[in-house]
Symmetry: C2
Subunit: 342 residues, 2 copies
DNA sequence: TTGAAAGCGCTAACAC
DNA sequence: GTGTTAGCGCTTTCAA
């Protein structure tokens, strides 16, 4: 074992050790026919002995119909159960197809998103699944072009036509607000994130529309947008409850908004006086005090659906882009079933 | 725009369009000196026009001191807040170093872990951070060898000497159990996962030791191992509470075990009679009923620490492997401060 | 059944 | 300042 270099061994090293040509080694590695059993075994022994591992990059470079069997997933942050489950779903389907998933976080920043797209595209991934940041995506799409398959998830990107997997925002917000109206509420607060995100403005629009349909005039004082973390959510709830004519119910249109709301309601001792409906499950919705009523989404299913769509594209199905809309459904647990008390 | 092929454009295409040699294009791309400003601008225009993107794989292949500026992160599943935060921490440090992180899930399965290591190694990542599955890692380490930097996180892998970042399991379990003993409990249940995982057996060992030191003989009926999801946790808690001489307190040594425990205690109406201390925070520990007392870990810090260590290795620091042990600290919130009631 | 030679897209060394 | 050449590790002709 003298002279064991730290250099990775190559096809040549294996060939030399097995006393064959590099082409023969290549044949064995790729399971091509026309190799004598003895030769093949010698080659395998040499591979084993040298801990040889093919260089995937070099192989792809040489191969004609390039395919790296990898896809990139861009999400705002993995550190949110919703996106973590999307990741999980994407990974499931990718593995079924023999692909690996490279995930990275954009922090909902368009510049970061673009830079990651460049990095992954330059690494020759076969496709993208992107939960887009707010902002005009025309540049991004022009760059990805028609040759790089791409499916957007959660948010509908601004300015472009592309495959999108998202929840039925209008229906979800309508059902949540209607639920609260049923319990007598008229002062219903709305908590949403960045108003440039499609989910945020669609949910708010539906919230307002549902109120109007019930004869309630929307009040902008009751609308808190731009919530991006639980601290922001807590501040927003305090404002909603501190109004001269305060909110008696809240629709928190993001999971983290709901978490902040629960926290403040507990602190203020209003958990059983102010009704709350969240959007999207959290791991322990049922264990909170009070148990959290939500419009449940299926992020695992989103991820799977987006991945399936992406593989259709990768396999060459060249239909026109579609928006796949998944339903959300109401899960009543207590926090949302609080009657208006005057 | 006639004849726009779907083939990706290459250095040659850019060179032809800008009417220079490929080397000049290469210079512009890599910001090398000795290019006339006008030439450089022509090249940049051509790049823009063709949507040219360098092929990172080919560039790395040609480059002498190969570095792909990427690291691989292998975790059991991203779909667990603990590992999601580790991911986040790793990503932070990697980005600070200009590296990208490729993450994948092992499902705590050694074969999957090994196969992912092959895939990533063959893609020439510069290093690994691995939360290892149970099982002998000698094969894995022999394969990675000394030339591929690798840091283990959370679990200490069996059978090998390597850099590890983990929590002080002995101290954490001791403090949790001592806390419960202080409140008069003698029948303290232990919930842990796969007994082959270092965190699980170390915590159990410390749990038993702490009991003995307090004059309590450990009872194997009170030890529930192999818990890997909340359903398993719920079944385990039911058994602990169904014993002839049932547990009056529980140390749930994993976050998901604690979630299952809270659920069952709520269902059985025992939330305020059975004391519970969890291990590791969950997003909303403070909002549960009752609020969850935990031995808090710092998974974000774990991730950062592991990444920092990995970059030391990548930068060539060749010290002997070390185990970095981070402390956990008790956060009392209510669930663990319940006096023994006879 | 096997091997030699060309070339994938790029960088490195050295010319001019 | 700029271009030419060789070659990274592999696959693909095509010949033996």
């Amino acid at each position: 074992m003298i002279g064991e270099q730290s250099r990775r061994s190559t096809l040549h090293d294996v060939a030399r050790l097995a006393d064959v040509s590099i082409k023969t080694v290549s044949r064995v590695i790729n399971g091509e026919p026309n190799v004598a059993p003895t030769t093949a075994q010698n080659v395998r022994d040499a591979i084993e002995m040298l801990h040889y591992l093919p260089d995937a990059a070099a192989a792809n470079l040489a191969r004609t119909g390039r395919e790296t069997r990898s896809i990139a997933l861009l999400i705002p942050t993995v550190d949110n159960q919703f996106f973590a489950r999307i990741f999980h779903g994407v990974e499931q389907v990718a593995h079924e197809h023999g692909f690996v998933v490279f995930a990275a976080s954009t922090d909902l920043d368009l510049a970061t998103e673009e830079s990651l797209i460049r990095i992954f595209a330059s690494r020759q991934v076969d496709g993208f699944i992107i939960a887009p940041a707010p902002g005009d995506h025309r540049g991004v799409m022009a760059f990805l072009g028609t040759r790089m398959p791409c499916v957007f998830i959660d948010q509908t990107p601004a300015g472009v036509v592309a495959d999108v997997v998202t929840v039925d925002n209008a229906a979800a917000a309508r059902e949540a607000v209607t639920h609260l109206l049923h319990f007598g509420h008229r002062r219903i607060g709305f908590m949403g994130d960045d108003a440039n995100l499609s989910t945020a403005y669609q949910r708010r629009a539906s919230y307002e529309e549902t109120l109007r349909a019930a004869g309630v005039v929307p009040d902008s004082d009751l609308e808190e947008m731009g919530i991006c973390d639980t601290e922001g959510a807590e501040a927003a709830v305090r404002r909603l409850l501190g109004l001269t004519d305060p909110a008696t119910a809240i629709f928190a249109s993001r999971n983290m908004a709901a978490i902040g709301a629960v926290r403040v309601l507990q602190q203020m001792g209003l958990s059983h006086r102010v009704a709350l409906v969240g959007m999207g499950e959290i791991d322990v919705s049922d264990l909170l005090e009070p148990p959290l009523t939500v419009m449940a989404q299926d992020p695992l299913g989103f991820g799977r659906l987006a991945a399936q769509r992406l593989f259709e594209r990768i396999d060459g199905h060249d239909e026109t882009p579609r928006t796949l809309i998944a339903p959300a459904h109401l899960v009543t647990r207590g926090s949302g079933e609080i009657l208006l008390s005057r």
